[in-house]
């Protein structure tokens, strides 16, 4: 229902054009929680901002379409986008804990979000806010409080409440649990799943933490240096990963369930995305790299009905 077609978003920098998102295609189905995983500078936040058209001035979508029920969001005017934002697609930004205005009561801030997109009476807004608080498991009696009176986990719930305030179809959550403690993180993840079940929201969950994905998501997209290197359902990605990066990533996370096996890591670092880039972005760190990988960019090949991988040699590689 939300389809990304060959999205390319580049940043203009003094050093050249930075290819933050460079040809990403995938589909989010209704009622799905899709995990978009990647490490720093892989482009996942840029992709999120491209979807709601809130990119910084230096960034520009160069190519591609984002189809919501068949309509291209990228070709809409600013006015049309205003009707889409929040009512159809909403976003919880990274660092959401600091996004609340410290001098306004929390209620006012949610009201602001609602009133900006719906013209309803103040009374109804208040009722809506109480409902929202209950939906995110917060005590509605606290809605007049100020942000500093809320803990980290509570603030994150407020941000979630804001994001679902106008009953959107898609919510994009950018690192919603990164700054939170383990127990609170778990509560937020459970909340997100419950909201999906109750409200039938589809979600893109952006994170660098694979265990969050394993806990919550139905599908996974692995991003690396602006490319979507692998995409598929949660079980295939975790049990039969095809792309060398995915395999290496899975081997590098410590697992409580296993006794200690040596963790591997990926030597090197993400390539500089301005100017010249090798054809396969993972070339410099891939244990299976061949000459072909430096010259020709691997195209996404289907490995199943709803999964694909972008690697020249995925068929030959062992999937563990």
């Amino acid at each position: 229902m939300l389809e990304f077609e060959n999205l390319r978003t580049y940043y203009k920098t003094p050093q050249g054009l930075l290819k933050a998102v460079d040809g990403v295609s995938f589909t989010l189905e209704k009622g799905e929680i899709l995990g978009l995983v990647g490490e720093s500078a892989c482009g996942k936040t840029t992709l999120a901002l491209s979807t709601v058209r809130l990119l910084p001035p230096a960034a520009q979508v160069m190519e591609g379409r984002i189809l919501l029920h068949g309509e291209d969001l990228l070709s809409k005017t600013d006015d049309e986008m205003k009707k889409v934002r929040w009512k159809k697609v909403s976003i919880i930004f990274q660092g959401a804990l600091n996004s609340l205005n410290p001098v306004l009561p929390v209620k006012e801030q949610i009201a602001e979000a609602i009133l900006a997109h719906d013209s309803i009476s103040r009374d109804e807004v208040d009722k809506a806010i109480s409902r929202l608080f209950k939906a995110v498991r917060l005590d509605p009696g606290r809605r007049n409080g100020y942000p500093h009176e809320f803990s980290g986990g509570m603030k994150q719930r407020v941000m979630i409440a804001m994001a679902i305030a106008c009953d959107p179809e898609v919510v994009i959550a950018d690192e919603p649990t990164t700054a939170l403690d383990v127990i609170v993180q778990r509560q937020i993840l459970d909340l997100i799943r419950n909201l999906r079940d109750d409200l039938h929201i589809s979600m893109i969950l952006i994170t660098h933490d694979l265990s969050v994905v394993a806990q919550l998501c139905d599908k996974v997209g692995i991003m690396y240096a602006g490319k979507l290197v692998e995409f598929g359902d949660i079980f295939s990605i975790f049990e039969t990963p095809r792309h060398p990066y995915t395999q290496a990533l899975l081997k590098s996370i410590p697992k409580m369930e296993q006794t200690r096996t040596q963790l591997s890591y990926i030597p090197g670092s993400v390539p500089d995305l301005t100017g010249e880039v090798p054809a396969c972005r993972f070339y410099s760190r891939c244990p299976y790299a061949q000459k072909l990988c430096a010259e020709t960019e691997p195209k996404a090949e289907a490995t199943g009905p709803k999964s694909h991988v972008a690697c020249h040699f995925w068929r030959d590689l062992k999937s563990h």
Binding site: E39, S151, V182, Q185, A214, C217, Y265, I266
Partner: protein
């Protein structure tokens, strides 16, 4: 929940003098005072950051102190590094109290205990080159005599942390290095004075997942080669399990469970430990388990609950819990501070 056949054996055995570090009744309270000019208040309130911690760190241990934010683990680390003085209690390093050493002895002591911090970018002075950064402990403690000696020691320290061909790195600034390289430089800096103990405060939490193992493996490797002892401060239990052989769980300024990493993770006794472990997201999507419900939020460290400090949130609290439990033995080198672990 069944009562265990617990004994009354307390954690601290006064004959444990072979321990490298002995922490006894350590307390650090921060006054909640508005201004330095306000009158001292008899009913003054304190943030009880560390509120009575006692345990031993043995030679070549790799012990993790885990807990959520506000539990006091960071303050404990700062006290170990003598970056602040305690309100009460002592830390004995090789049987000498680090808080009462003389100035001259302090120099030697500092060289024995070094630190690695969380943010590899901000823990390196952006205006200094790698050489200057790595050799700073030598300079501060007036250890080397000549520039040549400094250079040699810096180079060998960099090689030891895996930055081979150190001459490539000596003249670089931190912004020219990757996150993993910066953290290696931070470790090289800690290693250059041949310490016995390294306190690592969240050493990998700001690094990408795929390079965390790089640093963790390096630290383990250094421990084997140089007979180091580690104290890891972390909130990430999976990392703690991977990298340490002992684990201590802190809650509101106290250690509520301590033991081998294996025991604490596979057979946790304290309800808080259990909650923490079950809250961890799984790494196996087929194994999605329910998290343990806890009541309420972490209370403020100013108003510590009376009795067992975990009581307000504990699902198993009973009448004995209005007295604060001490750490008692629940297994072979496994201790928990919970009345449920003691026979009635």
């Amino acid at each position: 929940m069944p009562f265990l056949e617990g004994s009354q054996i307390p954690l601290i055995d006064s004959n444990s003098s072979d321990a490298l570090v002995q922490i006894r009744n350590l307390k650090k309270w921060f006054p909640v005072r508005r201004s330095i000019f306000a009158k001292p208040d008899p009913n003054e309130r304190f943030v009880h950051a560390v509120d009575g911690v006692s345990f031993d760190i043995r030679n070549e241990d790799a012990i993790s102190i885990v807990g959520e934010s506000g539990c006091g683990k960071t303050t404990l680390a700062r006290l170990l590094l003598r970056l602040m003085d305690p309100t009460e209690g002592s830390i004995l390093f090789e049987s000498r109290n680090i808080f009462t050493t003389t100035k001259t002895e302090m120099h030697k002591l500092r060289a024995q205990i070094q630190a690695v911090f969380q943010d590899p970018y901000s823990s390196l002075d952006p205006k200094k080159t790698v050489l200057q950064i790595v050799s700073e402990p030598l300079e501060v403690n007036q250890i080397t005599d000549s520039g040549k000696q400094t250079l040699e020691r810096a180079s060998s320290s960099l090689s030891a942390v895996g930055l081979h061909a150190p001459q490539r790195f000596l003249a670089k600034f931190p912004y020219e290095l990757s996150g993993g390289q910066r953290q290696r430089v931070a470790i090289a800096r800690a290693m250059i004075v041949n310490p016995r103990l390294i306190v690592a405060d969240e050493p990998v939490s700001m690094l990408d997942a795929s390079i965390r193992a790089e640093i963790l493996n390096l630290m383990l490797n250094l421990r084997d080669r140089f007979n180091l002892t580690y104290v890891f401060i972390t909130h990430d239990l999976a990392v703690a399990r991977y990298v340490s052989n002992r684990m201590a769980v802190m809650y509101l300024g106290r250690i509520i469970e301590i033991g081998s990493a294996e025991d604490v993770c596979t057979s946790p006794i304290h309800p808080y430990t259990k909650a923490l472990l079950s809250a961890l997201p799984t790494t196996n999507p087929r194994n999605r388990h329910e998290g343990v419900e806890l009541k309420g939020e972490v209370p403020s460290a100013v108003q510590i609950p009376t009795g067992c400090r975990f009581r307000p949130r504990c699902l198993y609290a009973f009448d004995r819990c209005n007295a604060e439990p001490e750490l008692i033995r629940v297994g072979n080198d496994h201790y928990a501070a919970c009345w449920l672990a003691q026979a009635a």
